[in-house]
């Protein structure tokens, strides 16, 4: 709670008079609100008070937006007042209450959650079709289901690198791009099928992972993060500039899509629908793709869970906790890090080739740093190392931003020019900051140890020393 209280206190050292007498509290809250108002006025004056627009003669002119500025300042001051006067005392009172023991249903919940969740994702397309009908299902399976599953898979893949091995990788999207371009180029130029190229793309990506990982893995922490970021950008810039191979910004179009055991999903006579005597619908392909990515995602998760119990997985986690101790116990740290890097890169390669096959179009725009940041934030929000946490974080972050696309009713409130998708990344950035402040350890902040002596005890992440990657 102290963290939360601290976070909103822009106005000086604020939380002193929480439990003092009433009039004092009111006055203090008012004072803080006035201060916040003043600060936010200064903060928003240039960028919200004024708008730069280009006029007909192509000159930049200024327009004022005083009402909007007033609204922002008023909301900031009002929110601050509400917080200091009502919310903070309430939170303080709540923090003083003894913590209730966990209810009995929680144990059952934990036990049944995973099977239920897997059952739900398997049945998801059927449920969607039943609820929304044949016509509306496409959006929900494609935009929600497949999109979330891609990021879930990427999150699980990166979880091996960041969550298990403790290596901060800000350039994960590079391997995703390698996978996507491998599939696109090999499928278009050599006509190989999706099922041949899927493992090949994974191998190529992990090869790149080893190639890039080899020189940089002796760096630690933040430096490693920045170098991986640099590599991610270098690969993207090469894709942009090597137009002879990749067609640059324009991207690669009409990439072959995967077929159902050789049967393509199209409206022809030998297409999927005609062969099985069904009416043609694009939905069949989407459902097929949904199950492919679901299988790939579950494979990633399964492999990770199993790897954690193998010597190499144990070595990863040991490396995360203490590199020097690892080295003195005879673990080859370079090789251990490289396996984690290559493993993570391989899954990114799988996801990348699936992405290329699903979109049938790829361009460097899809592989910007924002993607790396999104995947990393999913891993960190999930709690670094927790498989379920990553899944929940992917649903919250990707599903949340996808839902923004659907909020058309907001147009009726804010006028027809209001476009909610504009605010997608804005809210994403804000959410990242707020969740970090609220739960810096991620949503699921306890880890089940994979090795234990006689009795299994959950350890809080707070107790775990930070690994120096």
């Amino acid at each position: 709670m102290a963290v939360l209280a601290n976070s909103a206190s822009e106005g000086g050292r604020a939380e002193k008079p929480i439990l003092s007498r009433e009039p004092n509290r009111f006055a203090a809250a008012l004072r803080e609100a006035a201060f916040t108002g003043l600060v936010s006025f200064g903060l928003f004056l240039p960028l919200i008070g004024f708008e730069t627009v280009t006029n007909i003669r192509d000159e930049l002119i200024l327009r004022t937006r005083w009402p909007l500025l007033a609204a922002f300042v008023f909301i900031a001051a009002g929110g601050r007042f509400f917080y200091s006067f009502a919310l903070a005392p309430w939170l303080a009172r709540r923090a003083q209450k003894p913590v209730k023991p966990a209810a009995a249903w929680r144990g059952h919940f934990k036990k049944w959650f995973v099977p239920f969740a897997i059952g739900f994702v398997i049945a998801y397309p059927v449920i969607v079709i039943l609820v929304t009908g044949w016509g509306g299902a496409l959006k929900w399976i494609d935009n929600f289901g497949i999109q979330i599953l891609i990021y879930m898979m990427l999150g699980w893949g990166l979880n091996i690198v960041v969550g298990l091995a403790g290596l901060l990788d800000l350039g994960y999207v590079a391997f995703y791009a390698v996978g996507a371009y491998s599939y696109a180029l090999l499928a278009k130029n050599f006509g190989l099928s999706f099922w041949v190229l899927l493992p090949l793309a994974g191998i190529l990506s992990s090869f790149w992972g080893i190639l890039l990982g080899f020189p940089v893995l002796r760096l630690r922490g933040d430096y490693l993060a920045i170098v991986t970021l640099a590599f991610g950008e270098i690969i993207r810039l090469i894709i942009i500039n090597w137009t002879a191979l990749t067609n640059g910004y324009a991207g690669i179009i009409s990439i072959p899509r995967p077929s159902f055991f050789g049967i393509p999903f199209n409206a022809n006579d030998n297409g999927f629908a005609a062969r099985f005597g069904l009416e043609f619908s694009p939905l069949y392909r989407v459902i097929f793709l949904y199950y492919i990515i679901l299988a790939l995602g579950l494979l990633t998760c399964f492999v990770t869970v199993r790897l954690r119990r193998l010597p190499v997985g144990r070595a990863w986690e040991a490396l995360r906790e203490d590199q020097i101790a690892c080295r003195s116990l005879g673990i080859n740290t370079t090789n251990t890090k490289l396996t984690a890097f290559a493993m993570g890169a391989m899954f990114a390669g799988f996801a990348g080739s699936f992405f290329a096959a699903r979109e049938a179009f790829i361009s460097p725009e899809s592989f910007t740093f924002i993607e790396s940041a999104t995947v990393l934030s999913i891993v960190v929000l999930g709690g670094m190392g927790s498989q379920i946490g990553v899944a929940i974080a992917a649903i919250v972050m990707i599903g949340g931003t996808e839902i923004l696309r659907q909020l058309n009713f907001l147009k009726e409130i804010f006028g027809a020019t209001f476009d909610p998708t504009q605010y997608r990344m804005l809210l994403f950035g804000l959410a990242l900051v707020l969740i970090m402040i609220w739960r810096p350890r991620g949503l699921i902040a306890t880890r089940e140890p994979s090795v234990f002596l006689k009795k299994r005890k959950a350890i809080s992440v707070d107790l775990v020393q930070e690994g120096r990657g």
């Binding site: 976070s7 240039p46 605010y423 804000l430």
Partner: protein, 305 residues
Amino acid sequence: MEYFVQQLINGITLGSIYGLIAIGYTMVFGIIGMVNFAHGDVFMVSAFIALITFLILTAWLGISSIVLALAIVLIVAMLFTSLVNWVIERVAYRPLRGSFRLAPLISAIGMSIFLSNFVQVTQGPRNKSIPPMVSGEFVLANHNNFPVTLSYKQLIIWGLTAVLLLAFWYLVAKTPLGRAQRACEQDQKMAALLGIDVDRTISMTFIIAAALAAVAGTMYLMYYGVVTFSDGFVPGVKAFTAAVLGGIGSLPGAVVGGLIIGLIETLWSAYFSIDYKDVAAFSILAITLIFLPQGLFGRPDVEKV
């Protein structure tokens, strides 16, 4: 030869801008050990504040004296950007102090995404270009009809950078605030025990970093005459490269690193290919970190158990 000298002049100009941003990275890293990922976007925000101030001054108030306008723009941009960075530190980084290592970095990434999208939403996604603020140039040499020129704006950037660096050096080396900063860099707990307000010192560090970034932002706007919401990322990473190259935590290192990066980038564009200039900058970052992780002026990092 003339061509080379001209590129040298351009490179030093660009390097001055990178150097000023790099100081912000290096200072913040020195004092709280965090890569302030949003610093590049703070730089971009400052360029926008400068743009708006400039438009108010010229279009609304009709100030025609360019020196006066530039001085006011500079001061206003420094003030408002400092406020922005102060609030960012307060809201996004301070609650995470003492948390695990990745938390502030993620928060800073979030802040960076937030800032660039905030500017996109409030000011529109298009390029914002203004007529040149300062024009005119000195012709230094003119052999074979290839004039080597030093434009007034380049001279302003050089002069301003030099003056600011001197002022900044004085601040860190001679004033109580600078002493407090260096003390916090070495040991925050001990500094607090000796009566230094650590929180205030860190806030001041962010304010100074933002003020220098604002100078860089204003000069960027003056030099190129155009700015967009996405202009923070690449200069930010390059400035970080400069800070790393010079040895992160070292102030002269940041400036020297900035100049080196600026020169390499300009010469690379001039002699090899302009398409791959960012690749060159990023490669330098990787190569430096791999072969010279402590940078040119930094102390080697000893790993203790």
